[in-house]
Symmetry: C2
């Protein structure tokens, strides 16, 4: 605690020296509040369920399935050498710490023993060689570890936190005339989830029940001492993920302190100018990845804060962080053209990252225009909750002007919103034009109906954008379609054996990866958990 | 301690159930005495000396040399990415535990970092790829470890004990747009050596001084909580190594308790029949490698015990372990033919391992015959020290008969002893026929002179046999030759840059390996340290 405080202090000092928008004292208070809201992780000991074999199968997700071939008790009884490359199935996605026992079964250990442990979230991840590694993210995210043992019997504990369902154990080297047995495989599964969510209505369909269950597992796994984006990979708090996870949490596990902590963390490590970085790392002390500024994520912070205040009625926190929300929207005018339309080129030249979705070639003008308008609306709603309307009264006019500008993106003929000079048609553009209220209800319905059958439309690449697609469908009253899209998309993952929902999922390209190597994808990803929110917020749509 | 005692007890019980020659109580007492003599290791923090580059060079040992290219302070100052595959030189051979600090130097760590650390005793070890591994011992003895870091700054400590002089640090994976610095590299060097040995006479030649220094380093490194055969590889106590190390220790570091501990350990874990296994592992509780019986090593135990009693005058221990010594020589008659000559085929069929030296094709009859006679003589000398002559009086007649039988191996024409039906001429045979007194002084001198120039003689493969070669030279008064052989052989290693003496050394084949891969050889090996003993026991020969 003392160490942390000292580090906070030095962090704050260096920010202060660059003329801090919020001031040292405020940041210090925010980070202390984040620390005070840090959850105790609960731990549960999990045992493996079966020995499985990875089988190539064109009908299975990514071409591989895991088939049960034996009981763990048999695995424990047999000497290991004949069982090298055994794959152990824990039966569910788990995040935490791995231990096992190992003892000699033939002669004493007279030279070191070397094992490789490979943890995977999905079968194909374990069936695909990691090297030579073609991916664009650090190879070290892949969860393979080498253990060298010089004494037996031993209890081995990996210090690295793992996130997985399947574990392959390979023998790399051992002395001759020696064999051994592995036993007592245990996994200490950790999460900051405490409460059980309410059960669904008995009238909910089996598919909805299944989607909800997988969504809850996804959320539970990502809820650690922050909302992590993926417990296997990245493991950091991103504002965009926070917003969606907090929505899902508010309708399920209700661990509102975690949301509070995350809101304070993001505020505490924001830029000296007061604008928010898109992510936070917790250890060894809260810090961010300097340089990156994800514009729309900074705007979504306000929506997250508003939802938190609604869910908790904790206006104290709302007021405490109000200066942050107020500051974020001040960026909105910065790169608008004379009519109030976002100039994406200028924004990107300024170093702003516009994300919207992982989908190559996606044109982002319409989407980000929509997100900006949506953020204005959310900020105004937050101001009203906190009695701060007068401080952001200017936003009303801005909203009107930007909405008017956004209307120029509407193409009456096709009934679709077009983005950028290329006049690109995408799901993303339609969704955000609808969520932001730029489209009328009738326009929204016809746009979403039209896009669904338009062959060259740019489709969503991730469950993240799919969340906003469902939101848009519900917003314009296409409730049946919302349910059907959820059953198709998230249900598609369920049918393909998902234990938790994936970071990226394109039904037509199961090996789609934003990082050029599908095993490095996260298969338990925060932003994919939101069926939990929809199913529970709109029981009439999803539970009947 | 309690755990250890419980394990002792169960070990002892299982031995007892097979009709124990010594009985449970005695073994328990021996193992407790071994535990009580266990040394406290002393630790010293060592810092790296330089950054070096490995350079291929036909004139260097095994074709590689390490050349200084930079200072450690510069290495610490520069970011690591441009310095991947840096080799750090600690300037001396060290055994112990490695730590270093690591911190970001460009952006925050936003994905895990993976490093490979490769520890090597000699330059060529680091310059030779370990995989695909062709060796016959466990690949895991090679000292490469992978470290995955998810948080920075960090202090990394490897739990595995390493033995090395050179360390290569390779970057395996890291996030993009990220760099880091390594600093504060430290090594906690451990040994059970406490005393400083006396200095050599000022008249000793620089080469003898250098050989002595390297011998002392070798011995110091191998002296841990037992006499290890090699701190990098095997790391166990072998009787043959114990004998030589204890001799060297008695003339240098004088840590006699360590010798006592080792004698008790070997006794404690001996076969139910009372015969000794050739080696002991200490952890997690003292145990041996069942099955193996190295006949001549069991006999050399008696020589080691005798030397211990002479060095310490600790007759209590001598008497305590006398039953063990008395038992070992009872094996000698077992596989003698009618004339008293060892039948090696019969012995090997009985599962006895006859070692003598690592040298393919070596015929062992004459050597082991000599070792048996030598052991009888040592046992009789021990009996005399302890007043136990009457208990082994029968050995006198056996010695006479076996010596007479051994005389039949002498070939008058060549002046050499021949071994086995192949009548093989080897250094080993001459040495042991001389040490055992089978050869007269005149025969010994002419045999050693003849073998030195005999082209097809089987030469020594290791410093282990070279020890007995020096012993034989001194025994027959070829003192100048003894010094010259030491200066040629051990001096040859010194000239080739040895920091510690090597397990195997053939001047004509630097990559000779008993295990089919020279990097797995031990380059700090117990049995190679004995110049320390000769130089200090015979100052008139070596220090003038």
């Amino acid at each position: 605690m003392i160490k942390t405080l000292i580090v906070f202090f030095s962090l704050i000092s260096s920010i202060a020296s660059a003329q801090d928008y919020y001031g040292v004292e405020l940041r210090e208070r925010w980070l202390l509040k984040a620390e005070k809201s840090k959850p105790q992780l609960s731990a549960e000991i999990k045992k493996p369920k079966a020995v499985v074999k990875l089988i190539e199968d064109q009908n299975s997700f990514q071409g591989w399935k895991a088939e049960k071939v034996g009981a763990i008790s048999d695995f424990y009884e047999k000497s290991f050498k004949s069982q090298s490359s055994t794959v152990i199935d824990f039966g569910e996605h788990l995040t935490g710490y791995f231990t096992f026992s190992i003892k000699a079964s033939q002669n004493a250990l007279h030279g070191p023993l070397r094992l490789k442990l490979i943890f995977g979230e999905v079968p194909a991840e374990l069936a695909t060689p990691f090297d030579p590694y073609p991916g664009t993210l650090s190879r070290a995210w892949l969860q393979d570890e080498i253990v060298t043992l010089t004494e037996l019997p031993a209890k081995v504990a990996l210090s690295r936190r793992m996130s997985f369902r399947y574990l392959k154990i390979e023998l790399l080297a051992s002395p001759s005339n020696f064999d051994f047995k592995i036993s007592d495989i245990q996994f200490k599964s950790v999460t900051s989830v405490v409460n059980r969510p309410d059960s669904l209505s008995s009238s909910a369909s089996p598919m909805i029940v299944a989607i909800d269950k997988v969504g809850l597992s996804t959320l539970k796994e990502c809820m650690q001492t922050v909302y992590e984006d993926g417990p296997k990979r990245d493991r950091r708090l991103w504002t965009g993920d926070l917003y969606l996870e907090a929505l899902a949490n508010a309708y399920s596990f209700k661990n509102h302190d975690l949301t509070k902590r995350c809101l304070y963390l993001l505020a505490g490590v924001s830029k000296p100018s007061g604008f928010l970085y898109p992510c936070v790392f917790e250890a060894p002390e809260p810090h961010t990845q300097e340089g990156g500024f994800l514009f729309e994520y900074s705007l979504l912070y306000n929506a997250a804060l508003k939802e938190y205040v609604i869910a908790t009625n904790d206006k104290e926190t709302g007021l405490d962080l109000w200066p942050v929300a107020k500051r974020q929207v001040e960026n909105i005018s910065k790169h608008l053209d004379a009519n109030g339309l976002l100039n994406t080129q200028r924004a990107e030249r300024d170093g702003w990252w516009l994300f919207v979705d992982w989908r190559e070639g996606l044109e982002k003008q319409a989407s980000v225009q929509g997100i900006m308008i949506f953020s204005i609306q959310e900020t105004l709603a937050l101001a009203k909750l906190l009695g701060k309307e007068n401080e952001v009264a200017y936003l009303k006019e801005l909203e009107t002007r930007m909405t008017k500008a956004a209307r120029t993106l509407y193409n009456k003929e096709s009934g679709l919103f077009l983005s950028g000079s290329a006049k690109q048609v995408s799901f993303a553009s339609q969704c955000w034009m609808i969520i932001s209220g730029v489209a009328s209800k009738a326009e929204a319905q016809s746009a979403l109906k039209a896009i669904a059958i338009k062959k060259d439309a740019v489709k969503p690449g991730t469950p993240y954008l799919m969340h906003y697609y469902i939101t848009a469908l519900i917003k314009c009253g296409l409730n049946k379609e919302a349910k059907s899209v959820m059953e198709d998309y998230w249900g598609g993952m369920v049918k393909k054996g998902a234990d938790t929902f994936w970071e990226a999922y394109d039904p037509d390209n199961e090996k789609l990866s934003p990082y050029n190597f599908f095993p490095i994808n996260s298969y338990c990803h925060a932003w994919s958990c939101t069926p939990v929110y929809f199913i529970r917020k709109y029981p009439a749509i999803f539970q009947k």
